[in-house]
């Protein structure tokens, strides 16, 4: 078993190493390495899932990376219900995205093609390290690793200025969050003397409530960076600059889910800090609403999906914030399918239209791209929360928990957001696939993509349709499975929730809200009554605010980036760097080279002078010995 767990984690790394080192050999054949390097772990992880379901657990330190005195840094893995679910999700979704990439990246030059698959494998490797780590430090290694790979992948077309900048933006924004994360780790280590989950959770009750609150808030700061929540979500829309399968990978199965997973993993700490839980739930639901509102008016196919990712992640945080960790993870699981699917579909549209992303230029594509269209609609139904599609089960579970745990405000906002979600996603569907084509030329050139791209889409569409049915599996369903490791604190509440009679009413409300959202989208974008253009005119101020994304990016520029750049340029660079540091460096180096030049002159012939220097050195050393 130990070997299998190692294999799962390290096979992607081996794949990355082969493609990385021999990129000029593998070239166009890079995927022959890269796809098995992720498909094999996917198969193994299914086996591990079965084993875990039968009660197998693994939590062991493989070796101590650093062991000096009482400071010990372990490398160890943990396999339990939570990590195995993540493991299966990550490897399964990633496999199909890898396959899809073969078709999507076929226009790339040879070496870049190999480079792409190297990054992709490496990305999955770090994600698996993050998920499988049995301690916070190794988790942090994975955490930083996916950050690095996302930087490389988002900036994959680095010749393009906007792509390079987007990569940088993702990286820097995440640094802000990581700052909180690292401090949380320091605090945990200081007060509990270990970073291994097992030890930390066993001794967590020793933490005072304020300290636990501080630690969990800092951890949550890290999560807001990685999982794109307010206020650190700004990197995610720009991350669309990367190749679309990368967006799919980052937004569906890996990277952005890391924050949710981390909180679910740290649930013992979070249970100690009710205030933090409140914060998480509120930030989650506000992010969900906020991002959905920006998606309402955006015309960029991928950006709508990006806002939708932020919004859905908000739901997951609502889940973990109200103590329904399993529901949050369940939504993560279903979301991985339908969001992964929708990005692949968007990529398919984009591929067919030569990179066009503006929905206003599309329309009627369903006739040309049957598979893409139908799978996309499946994804849209799933995210809208229409039963029996996947999103319905998990989103409803989260809202249900929010309601019965007494977070009525959170429930209300979440439900409204669900309606907005249904609206914007069907707006996207109607604009793209229905109605009259608005750009004839684009439409004429459109074509369905080869099976290497459509098959992954079909597979994920099946997942999007049916993955939610795991909720009905015996033994409490998906959530019951994950809840096996959740500590007692909230179990009682979860059970109580299930028994409550009002559940039926809540379901009716959320389904109705979803259908209303779809209906409005249908009226506006198919029937054109009311006409969306007219609506935009009438509510122009609101439209502008939404269209410009609340000017948050501009605000960040005005308040953080420009001052920082200004200080860097005018003070740090011109004065500190050029003036002081360069001054010292140049001065010392000049002094050294002067001495060097002097010595060199002596060396060319006058060995006695050379000897004088040595003698002087000895006198100095002896002098020091005498003085001290």
């Amino acid at each position: 078993m130990r070997d299998l767990i190692l294999a799962v984690v390290f096979i992607p790394l081996i794949g990355a190493a082969i493609n990385g080192i021999f990129c000029w050999k593998t070239r166009r054949k890079a995927h022959y390495i890269a796809v098995p390097a992720i498909a094999i772990p996917a198969v193994i992880s299914l086996y591990l899932l079965v084993k875990v379901a039968q009660g197998y657990h693994f939590d062991d330190v493989l070796y101590w990376w650093i062991a000096i005195g009482d400071f010990r840094v372990p490398i160890g893995f943990l396999l339990d219900e939570l990590s195995v679910v993540m493991l299966v999700t990550v490897t399964f979704i990633s496999t199909w995205i890898h396959i899809y990439s073969i078709g999507y990246m076929d226009h790339e030059p040879d070496i870049s093609y190999a480079r792409y698959f190297t990054y992709l494998n490496l990305f999955v490797f770090f994600m698996l390290v993050l998920v499988m780590a049995n301690n916070y430090l190794l988790m942090f290694v994975g955490w930083e690793g996916v950050g690095l790979c996302s930087y490389l992948l988002i900036g994959y077309w680095y010749e393009k200025m906007s792509a390079a900048n987007a990569g940088m933006k993702a990286f820097i924004t995440n640094r802000v969050g990581d700052f909180g994360f690292t401090i949380a780790l320091f605090l945990i280590y200081k007060h509990l003397g270990s970073l291994i989950f097992h030890d930390v959770f066993a001794r967590a009750h020793e933490l005072s409530v304020p300290l636990a609150t501080l630690i969990t808030l800092l951890l949550f700061t890290g999560a807001t960076g990685k999982s794109a929540q307010i206020p650190l979500y700004v990197w995610l829309p720009d991350a669309m600059e990367g190749p679309t399968p990368v967006s799919s990978l980052i937004h569906a199965a890996t990277m952005v889910t890391a924050g949710v997973y981390m909180i679910a993993r740290s649930h013992v700490l979070y249970n100690l800090a009710p205030f933090t839980m409140e914060v998480v739930a509120v930030v989650g639901v506000i992010t969900a609403w906020f991002a959905a509102s920006m998606a309402l008016v955006n015309n960029d196919l991928k950006r709508v999906l990006a806002f939708s990712t932020i919004s859905q992640l908000g739901y997951m945080f609502v889940g973990v914030g109200v103590g329904a960790y399993a529901a949050g993870i369940f939504h993560l699981f279903t979301h991985a399918f339908f969001k992964g699917l929708m990005f692949l579909c968007a990529g398919s549209v984009m591929h067919a239209l030569h990179g066009e992303l503006n929905m206003q230029k599309m329309g009627g594509l369903l006739k040309k791209m049957k598979i893409t269209g139908i799978t996309f609609i499946v994804g849209a139904l799933a995210i809208s929360g229409v039963p029996p599609f996947a999103g319905f089960w998990s989103k409803d579970s989260i809202l249900h928990h929010a309601f019965v745990e007494g977070h009525k405000f959170v429930w209300l906002v979440g439900t409204i957001t669900a309606g907005m979600t249904a609206f914007y996603i069907f707006r996207l569907i109607f604009l793209t696939f229905f109605g009259e084509p608005r750009d004839k030329e684009l439409y004429e050139h459109a074509h369905e993509n080869p099976p290497v791209m459509t098959i992954p889409m079909i597979v994920l569409a099946i997942g999007s349709a049916f993955a939610g049915l795991f909720a009905l599996a015996p033994g409490g369903g998906f959530e019951g499975f994950v809840n096996r490791i959740m500590h007692a604190g909230h179990e009682a509440a979860v059970h109580a929730a299930h028994g409550e009679g009002g559940a039926g009413g809540l379901i009716v409300i959320s389904v109705a809200v979803a259908l209303i959202g779809i209906g409005i989208a249908y009226l506006m974008y198919i029937k054109r009554t009311p006409d969306p253009v007219e609506m935009a005119q009438r509510f122009r101020p609101i439209y502008l605010v939404l269209y410009n994304r609340y000017w948050v990016d501009e605000l960040y520029f005005a308040f953080f980036i420009n001052p920082t750049v200004g200080i860097s340029r005018h003070v740090l660079w011109k004065i500190v760097d050029v003036g002081i540091i360069d001054g010292i460096v140049n001065g010392v180096a000049r002094l050294c080279s002067l001495i060097g030049a002097g010595v060199r002159k002596l060396q060319t012939g006058f060995i006695p002078d050379y000897a004088w220097f040595i003698l002087a050195g000895i006198i100095v050393v002896c002098g020091i010995k005498i003085l001290f």
Partner: protein
């Protein structure tokens, strides 16, 4: 005192004898026939691998030998591994370099092995006479090696400078030894350690330490190093920067950290001073270097400074850290110079940053390999260089040398600048001219092996550390 050499003595020095025999065989084979030169490296490698095997076999505490002149303990055998390994790597890949320069003669391999042989004895010497003899044997071999490509002026200059400074430092160590003898009435390390503190002992100590600092190229006794390291043929530079310094570090552990553990106060101020000055001089001078070999020469001065932090700490932990650092230092510098020996091209004309810029476009793998070694030298986590620094600095902290460790950390940060500058030049700059590079099979194998070792030891550092702790005297 028994003058007869017993069979046991010979038995205990089996690895050394194998090295000696290999060196002689290589010289004879080379003298014998034409056309055999091209296999000399394989011949040397076979002999050295055999020596490694014997060394492994003999590993253990066997007490003193040769009438108390040398001491055969685990530590001696452990350090033998380092020297044999360095010689093995150097002999193996140097062939490619020597063929290119038209100097592929058996003497090269012979001299490397003679030097390694003397280092092996040096590391196990229990008597200052043995130590001095071995040190000079090492030096003489290295003088000859430094000037091995004798058509090249820089080489000859390097050899000559090295020789003169070496003679100078030898004089100091002899005077120091004389004082130690005067103070203790013996040249035996154990007896000197037992002597009562006196002025003569202190003078002897300091002068002897100065001789060590010379060999370590620690400031202010470093002025020979940049010229010598830059001028010598790259494989030779790699060898003398690593193995020769490792030998001195091993002896420092034996002599200063173990035998004289109780007299630590005697040399502490001097070590602190030399450590600080070395870091400063090495790093600041390296920043402005244009020649990669010269840059690494200055960086090696700084590294001597870092290592001296462990010497200053003087604990058992520090001794382990120092040996670990020596091993790490060997791995990464051997690798760096193996790559440079290829990239520098014929006559080493391309060893400057200007010429190397953009080399990654044409030779991405070589550039990546060199980057790994440079990252390791700068102490990037995940490489052996990080672990080396970590252990040394941890030992310093435990010994209470907080300000020195902080100073060393700041210096490491400064050093990252010039290491990364090389990487930057290789990867980020547009190539100016194409470098005629011909990677030999042997060099390729060596570079790959060292890259793997640098990363593997950085990711899984425990076993090496345990081995060192277990073999410390």
């Amino acid at each position: 005192m028994e003058a007869v050499v017993s069979t046991r003595d010979l038995w205990l020095t089996l690895p050394e004898i194998v090295v000696l025999a290999t060196a002689c065989i290589v010289l004879i084979v080379d003298a014998w026939g034409k056309g055999r030169e091209s296999f000399l490296n394989i011949l040397s490698a076979i002999g050295l691998v055999l020596a490694l095997v014997f060394n492994f076999w003999m590993f253990g505490n066997h007490g003193s030998a040769f009438a108390g002149l040398i001491f055969r303990d685990k530590f001696a055998y452990f350090s033998n591994f380092i020297f044999i390994f360095c010689a093995l790597v150097t002999c193996f890949y140097a062939r490619d370099y020597l063929l290119r320069e038209g100097r592929n003669y058996g003497e090269f391999y012979g001299l490397v092995m003679f030097a390694a042989l003397s280092m092996m004895f040096l590391a196990s010497s229990a008597n200052l006479i043995t130590f001095f003899l071995c040190l000079e044997l090492v030096s003489v071999s290295l003088y000859a090696l430094a000037g091995f490509v004798r058509e090249r002026d820089a080489c000859v200059e390097a050899a000559l400078k090295y020789f003169i400074v070496g003679a100078f430092s030898a004089a100091f160590s002899v005077v120091g030894m004389a004082f130690l003898f005067y103070a203790s009435g013996s040249l035996d390390v154990a007896n000197i350690a037992a002597a009562k503190p006196s002025v003569a002992l202190v003078i002897g100590f300091v002068l002897f330490a100065v001789a060590m600092f010379f060999k370590l190229s620690a400031a202010p006794f470093h002025i020979w190093a940049p010229d010598v390291y830059q001028g010598s043929p790259s494989p030779v530079t790699g060898f003398m920067m690593t193995a020769a310094k490792a030998a001195i570090f091993i002896f420092i552990v034996r002599f200063f950290l173990v035998a004289f553990a109780s007299n630590q106060q005697l040399w502490l101020p001097v070590v602190l001073f030399v450590s600080v000055v070395s870091m400063l001089v090495g790093n600041f001078a390296a920043i402005r270097q244009n020649d990669v070999k010269r840059l690494l020469a200055y960086s090696s001065i700084a590294h001597a400074g870092y290592a001296l932090v462990a010497v200053a700490a003087g604990t058992k932990l520090a001794a382990a850290a120092l040996v670990y650092y020596a091993v790490a230092y060997c791995l990464m510098n051997l690798g760096a110079f193996a790559v440079i020996s290829v990239l520098a091209g014929k006559n080493e004309e391309y060893a400057s940053l200007d010429k190397l810029q953009g080399v990654a476009v044409e030779h991405p793998v070589l550039a990546a390999a060199l980057s790994v070694f440079l990252f390791s030298l700068s102490g990037m986590p995940g490489t052996v260089g990080f672990m080396g620094k970590f252990y040394v600095f941890a030992a310093g902290m435990k010994a209470g040398l907080y300000w020195l460790v902080v100073f060393a950390l700041i210096n490491s940060a400064i050093a990252a600048y010039y290491y990364l500058k090389v990487v930057y030049y290789m990867f980020m700059r547009e190539p100016k001219e194409s470098i005629p590079v011909n990677v030999g099979v042997a060099t390729g194998i060596v570079v790959l092996l060292l890259v793997v070792l640098v990363i593997q030891t950085g990711v899984v550092p425990g076993s090496l550390y345990q081995a060192i702790v277990a073999s410390l005297p």
